[in-house]
């Protein structure tokens, strides 16, 4: 069984989507380690190291995601998690911006998958199966 770490980054307390992701991924055969809301980059990374996670799925709904996610890839690499896939989704930037540009920016930051607002978790599930298997 593959392990994934999920959580809501930064000073963000939106818990509903987080629970849905937990439910759907668990239901589809993943070992989900949910670190919950108000989580820092270090929390994600420490959890991924101890649980041998193959992917980290970061949610952010309050608009500050871009700041919170800065240097996440570098921090992971530093901690020996070069092979861990990084996903991010939600309202990850301030205001309404062209998503293609947003996606480009996050990919440049080292994220493997970037999802726009309103995206269903099932879409990410397919990507997850492709990226890390079940």
């Amino acid at each position: 069984m593959k392990t994934v770490v999920i959580g809501v980054i930064g000073a963000d307390v939106h818990a509903v989507g987080n629970k849905i992701i937990d439910y759907v991924l668990t239901d589809n055969g993943y070992n989900v380690v949910n670190i919950g809301v108000l989580s820092s980059q270090e929390d994600f990374i420490n959890a991924a190291i101890e649980t041998n996670a193959k992917a980290i799925l970061i949610s952010s709904l309050y608009g500050h995601g871009e700041l919170d996610c800065k240097y996440m890839r570098e921090q992971c690499d530093e901690a020996g998690l070069e092979d861990v896939k990084l996903y991010v989704g939600g309202n990850i930037v301030v205001g309404k911006q062209d998503f293609r540009e947003v996606e480009q920016r996050f990919k440049k930051m080292g994220f493997d998958r970037v999802y726009p607002p309103g995206m269903k978790i099932e879409q990410a599930l397919d990507d997850l199966k492709e990226d890390i298997g079940i």
């Binding site: 392990t3 307390v13 041998n52």
Partner: protein, 464 residues
């Protein structure tokens, strides 16, 4: 009268406490210097002789039984190995501390050759090897096990990490002289703490091996098995006093502080959950009975370390307001470190010792209690809580030589309280303070293994 004897082979003194199980009172206590270097029984015999001489109603043939604990020959020294510092390393440390050990060495992630050499050279009694949640990382713990094997470590190793790594490690150790024990993972799931089995095995190794290695085994001819390290006995006493037993009610959430010559130990019994709704818990789960040991806070051996923790200016704030003496802090600390058997003779020296005790108390509590951090979110202020919220603790109990013989012990212990300059620390608000004047806590922890109700009744009478 039905005397029952509790024996503590301490680092300095061998202490005997005699209790009457019929009427639940302390008949008497005695002590003599611990003689672990020659024959541990010499010290014991001397203490026993004193006890019998001072209490003629105790006869050797009417003693109904013995229980004994030990912290002689340096106590129980352990090394904790884990993966991430805040997670499995911390879980491993808590298992050791909860079992009454001193954690002398800590290693995280992949151990290097240099670290293994350091471990080999150190005087360690048991190694606790953790790392990875169940189903999580197993590569690191296996790497560390290999390193320990290569070094042919001749210290018992407790394997308490990812269960999926156990088969590989057992295969590694098979056919070697390494003595190992497999227990359940100290952190089976992320942030979840499970130290029960590890603690039990630590105690078992202590009884079976360590006692012998330290030359205390001889004592067992006279008094039967030595059942635990002394600090564990104190923790058990605190747990019993908090929880109560059957219809004998306990005190509820409480804290025990033991300020010694080399270390300051803090024990708390209680969940320490957040008291408010807008608080989110961070970090590893806290043990219900938590013990921390501060090796840099002590009255003598570690006295000179104090100035690296508090400045000269801050130090002066711990003196009483009416204390007129212009203390030479550095010199006074040095003197205590040089002469560990120093006993204050003058009022100024007493005042200085009191200030040290207050610092030990204040700083050890800062480290023991939980902390909050404020985060501003779009939904208003939220709080992270790391560690236990101990603001509602009802009792603080002081024990250890400095406190029990000090007329101002309660005043010293008031430095556990919440203060305006440490607002983010979840310190006790205004607990009742009790002193273990007859120095019976460890003895009652021992007694609680066979006679919990008697031990509880006696503690309730004798903690004042």
């Amino acid at each position: 009268m039905k005397p029952y004897l509790l024996v503590d082979f301490g680092s300095t003194y061998t202490k005997i406490t005699a209790v009457d199980l019929e009427h639940n009172f302390i008949i008497g206590t005695s002590k003599a210097t611990t003689t672990v270097d020659t024959n541990v029984l010499d010290g014991y015999d001397k203490a026993m002789e004193r006890l019998l001489r001072n209490h003629p109603d105790i006869k050797e043939d009417n003693i109904s039984g013995f229980s004994a604990c030990s912290s002689a020959a340096g106590g129980l020294k352990m090394a904790a190995i884990g993966l991430v510092e805040e997670l499995t390393v911390e879980a491993a440390k808590r298992a050791c501390l909860g079992a009454g050990a001193i954690v002398n060495m800590v290693f995280s992630h992949h151990m290097t050759k240099r670290e293994v050499v350091k471990l080999e050279e150190a005087d360690i009694d048991i190694i606790l090897l953790a790392g990875g949640t169940d189903g999580g990382n197993k590569e690191c713990i296996i790497h560390n096990a290999k390193k320990l094997k290569e070094a042919e470590i001749d210290v018992p190793i407790i394997i308490a990490g990812n269960k999926e790594a156990v088969d590989d490690i057992e295969e590694l150790f098979e056919g070697t002289d390494i003595e190992y024990f497999v227990v359940s993972n100290v952190m089976p799931q992320l942030k979840k703490l499970d130290v029960k089995e590890a603690k039990e095995v630590i105690r078992k190794i202590f009884i079976d091996k360590i006692i012998e290695a330290k030359g205390i085994k001889k004592a067992e001819q006279k008094i039967g098995e030595i059942i635990m390290p002394t600090p564990e006995a104190v923790l058990l006493a605190a747990e019993l006093l908090s929880n109560g037993f059957e219809d004998e009610e306990g005190f509820g959430e409480l804290m025990v502080i033991d300020i010694g010559g080399a270390t300051t130990d803090v024990h708390t019994i209680g969940e320490g959950f957040p008291k408010r709704t807008e608080v989110i818990m961070k970090g590893l789960q806290e043990p219900f009975a938590k013990r921390t040991v501060e090796g840099d806070l002590g009255m003598r051996y570690s006295a000179n370390a104090l100035l690296s923790l508090v400045s000269d200016y801050e130090f002066r704030k711990y003196f009483d307001e009416d204390d007129q003496c212009d203390h030479n802090i550095a010199k006074s600390l040095e003197r205590r470190k040089e002469h560990v058997d120093f006993i204050p003779q003058t009022r100024d020296e007493e005042e200085f010792d009191k200030a040290i005790a207050k610092i030990c108390c204040d700083v050890s509590i800062s480290r023991h209690v939980g902390h909050v951090e404020v985060v501003s979110t779009p939904l208003g202020s939220m709080y992270y809580q790391t560690g236990k919220d101990l603001s509602d603790i009802k009792y603080v109990i002081g024990t250890g030589g400095v406190l029990i013989n000090n007329a101002d012990a309660k005043k010293i212990l008031r430095s556990v309280n919440k203060t305006s300059n440490k607002k983010l620390e979840l310190r006790p608000n205004n607990p009742a303070i009790l002193i273990d004047r007859s120095y019976i806590l460890s003895a009652m922890g021992l007694l609680s293994q066979k006679y919990p109700k008697n031990a509880l009744k006696i503690m309730k009478q004798y903690l004042l």
